[in-house]
């Protein structure tokens, strides 16, 4: 019974992905006319693989690098995602460690204050952050795209919960062996917390990879834009949407995320399960 439910759930979950791939291989007319299977034996349409090169061509060409802009978008998305992940991990690990292993005065108050920032809607801080980027001279630079996201409250929270499960005895033993905080952190705590760290990395990667509004607000040139912003140009105009090309572009955008998840899903599941954040 449970397997039947899981199979049905899996099929439902995969439907949007299948729809995306199918739509990316149709002519626009078939998409608009809601033709589910326009190919033989029910239709006469060929598989429209051309939608992929068309989407790439429509996204434009980067004269500086002499490559299609999608390459530039892809490179930017990778740089920003990797930069954000690295920074977030460093700050989250250090902050979570301090909140669990160092007797800072008012440690719990600090933790609650950090958690409280989750309550502030992102949109509320958007304009002040954009103004800061202009004032710092970071507008249209990677700094604007990375630095504001170098800390993650969720990351701190998740790691703190994880670090709290590590027995104190380990720390005491490490101290006796002459280890300091940093050495203990990097040689004992971090390896033990790999699932939680991978989870944070993956969640940050997805958020960073998909981010649209912020990169749009703080960049000017196509060469600084990311994939999500590049994809926007396929979305609705006043007349209609070139859905077939948008889906082709979306398929190209989403594949890296799927590959990454494929290789890390074991850690991801473990990270969520071991911290008690589960349904």
């Amino acid at each position: 019974m449970i397997y039947s439910v899981l199979i049905v759930g899996a099929i439902i979950s995969i439907c949007p992905f299948v729809y995306m791939i199918m739509t990316s291989l149709k002519e626009l007319g078939s998409v608009i006319a809601n033709r589910f299977w326009p190919w033989p034996p029910f239709g006469t349409e060929d598989l429209q693989f051309q939608n992929y090169p068309d989407a790439i061509a429509k996204a434009g060409f980067d004269k500086q690098w002499g490559v299609p802009l999608i390459v530039r978008y892809f490179a930017n998305s990778v740089i920003i995602s990797v930069g954000t992940i690295m920074g977030t991990l460093i700050t989250s690990i250090l902050a979570a460690y301090a909140l669990t292993h160092i007797n800072l005065p008012g440690r719990n108050v600090i933790f609650i204050a950090i958690l409280a920032t989750i309550m502030i809607p992102n949109d509320l801080t958007l304009v002040p952050k954009v103004v800061m980027m202009y004032q710092l001279g970071w507008y249209n630079t990677y700094l604007a795209l990375i630095v504001p996201f170098l800390a993650s409250v969720f990351g701190i929270f998740l790691l703190r919960q994880f670090f709290m499960q590590i027995p104190k005895d380990l720390f005491d033993a490490a101290l006796i062996d002459g280890s300091g905080h940093l050495r203990y952190l990097w040689t004992i705590v971090v390896p033990l917390s790999r699932p939680a760290i991978v989870t944070i990395a993956l969640l940050n990667f997805i958020a960073s990879w998909d981010s649209f509004k912020w990169p749009l607000l703080v960049t000017r040139d196509s060469s600084m834009r990311v994939l999500a912003v590049g994809m926007q140009q396929f979305q609705a105009t006043e007349g209609g949407t070139n859905t077939h090309q948008m889906m082709a572009f979306a398929a190209m955008v989403v594949i890296p995320v799927i590959i990454l998840y494929f290789f890390t899903q074991r850690y991801f599941t473990e990270g969520i399960a071991r911290t008690g954040i589960k349904g």
Binding site: G29, Y139, T241
Partner: protein, 499 residues
């Protein structure tokens, strides 16, 4: 030592964390609804009035003219000296990359040909007018506006309320840099008129570079079968045809009711009504035209002659019309090739576009779409350079190229023949070129919805508080719905009125 170093590191990490974003990085959803009441600080402190430093060769008296920022008269504009200033102009728009490439190629031409050394650059500021609006508002807060951006008339009014965009009248009238009478006559007059803002004494807060309009799409084969020789020319025939079609074709509908305030506005215009009073001081969509329209909508829904297109079904009317499930629908003329492809793959019938019933009658009209470009308050030199860029983009060659690439209407009459010929030779537009050509004759009926600050929440209210409520309960008192919406719209208008 190591211990204290670590404590310092930990404290720094905590501080960064506390100052960082509250959750994960920037959301992926489209920007939220436009704020219309948020205060936006003026773009820049007024620049020191620029006096013409060198006597210009063509205007010997110009040096004596004091130039305000923005210039208040054509003479002040004439007195601005651009030579040697190497002014840079940035133009924010919402077009996709292929249009950006075309736009930049046109601007490159301008950069090479203008005698003042102006360098213009186009930048994509988003994919929707909302994106550009949000980006402009953030840039205004940082005192970093572009020199030019696309803006709908109501958005331009909002910027003007913050003293952030300028009146282009002195630039248009400038003898040295303005547009000649002959050129002004070549511009489609109703396009120009749409940028005169009633809230600001008819100041010209934008200039048109493109336009489209709300039209009616009709299934000619089905109409013929029902005994009609073309699109209905009055609302009684429209209603009758819709119901005949629905009756003869179970599961199909004569027309659709979409969740779009512009569709409602277009019908009001076609009935001789207006959304906003001519003086811009109150909304008037609760007039008899509004009551008649919503009464018709209610009857069509109650009699199962019309069907709702839910908001989740984006451009659903194109699909349904293309499949032959709707006799008539309405939409932007820029959807022409989408409709063509839907019909080609769907019902494969003869179709065309038409005026909304009654739109050619006295006092009636068509809903005109299309943002203009506005110039931000920076310095008189930059403002003039921005104007010269706009003037260049409005020339016949440029507006023809732009119309051919985007499917919008060009802004000049003289471009008509070239644009239609170009469309006929184009694979996408060829099949709809004749339909497109009709719109040139319809431009004289153009009307715009509401060029006042704060119109966006009113648009939402028209859908949520009027159209949606009527769909949910077609027996509603339409006059009461309209009166209530008008009252709240007037409140928004008052809140956003120029202070």
């Amino acid at each position: 030592m190591r211990k204290s170093m670590f404590a310092v590191l930990a404290v720094i990490a905590l501080l960064i964390a506390a100052c960082g974003p509250s959750a994960t990085p920037a959301p992926t959803t489209a920007p939220a609804a436009q704020p219309t009441t948020a205060a936006v600080s003026p773009t820049k402190p007024p620049a020191v009035p620029t006096t013409a430093p060198v006597a210009p060769t063509t205007a010997p008296t110009a040096a004596a003219v004091k130039i305000n920022n923005p210039p208040a008269s054509a003479a002040e504009v004439d007195a601005i000296v651009l030579a040697g200033k190497n002014v840079q102009v940035t133009y924010w728009h919402n077009r996709p990359q292929k249009d950006q490439d075309l736009l930049q190629s046109m601007l490159d031409e301008f950069n090479k040909s203008n005698p003042y050394g102006i360098k213009a650059k186009a930048e994509i500021a988003g994919s929707s007018y909302n994106d550009v609006y949000n980006k402009v508002n953030a840039a205004l807060q940082a005192n970093q506006p572009p020199e030019i951006s696309v803006a709908y008339q109501n958005q331009a009014a909002f910027y003007r309320g913050q003293n952030a965009v300028i009146d282009l009248t002195p630039f248009v009238k400038s003898t040295k840099y303005g547009i000649s009478d002959a050129d002004m006559k070549d511009y489609i007059q109703t396009f120009l008129d749409s940028d005169k803002n009633p809230q600001f004494k008819n100041e010209v807060l934008g200039f048109p570079t493109q336009r489209s309009m709300e039209v009616m799409f009709v299934n000619l084969d089905a109409l013929k079968k029902l005994g009609y020789d073309g699109a209905p020319k009055d609302w009684k025939t429209f209603e009758e045809a819709a119901c005949k079609f629905a009756k003869d074709n179970p599961g199909k509908y004569g027309w659709d009711v979409g969740h779009d305030a512009s569709r409602f506005a277009a019908r009001i215009f076609a009935r001789g009504g207006r959304i906003l009073a001519p003086d811009g001081q109150s909304y008037v969509f609760n007039s008899q035209a509004g009551v008649d329209d919503l009464s018709m909508v209610a009857r069509l829904l109650q009699n199962k002659c019309a069907v709702e297109i839910p908001t989740s079904e984006s451009f659903g009317n194109q699909n349904r019309f293309g499949n032959g499930d709707l006799l008539m629908t309405m939409g932007s003329s820029s959807g022409l090739p989408f409709f063509q492809q839907a019909v080609d793959k769907g019902g494969k019938f003869k179709w065309d576009i038409a005026l909304l019933p009654g739109a050619d009658q006295p006092n009636a009209g068509m809903d005109l779409y299309g943002a203009s470009v506005s110039v931000y308050k920076t310095t008189p030199e930059k403002e003039l350079a921005a104007w010269l860029v706009i003037k260049f983009l409005g020339e016949k060659t440029q507006t023809t190229k732009w119309a051919l690439a985007t499917g919008y209407l060009p802004v000049r009459q003289s471009a008509k023949a070239d644009v239609i010929a170009g469309f006929k030779a184009d694979k996408t537009w060829g099949p709809v070129a004749d339909s497109y050509a009709k719109m040139f004759d319809w431009t004289k009926y153009s009307l715009i919805e509401s060029p006042v600050a704060g119109y966006d929440p009113v648009r939402l209210s028209l859908d949520k508080d009027v159209v949606t409520k009527l769909i949910q309960d077609p027996k509603s008192d339409v006059k009461a719905l309209l009166d209530a919406a008008k009252a709240s719209a007037d409140k928004v208008l008052k809140e956003n009125a120029p202070k």
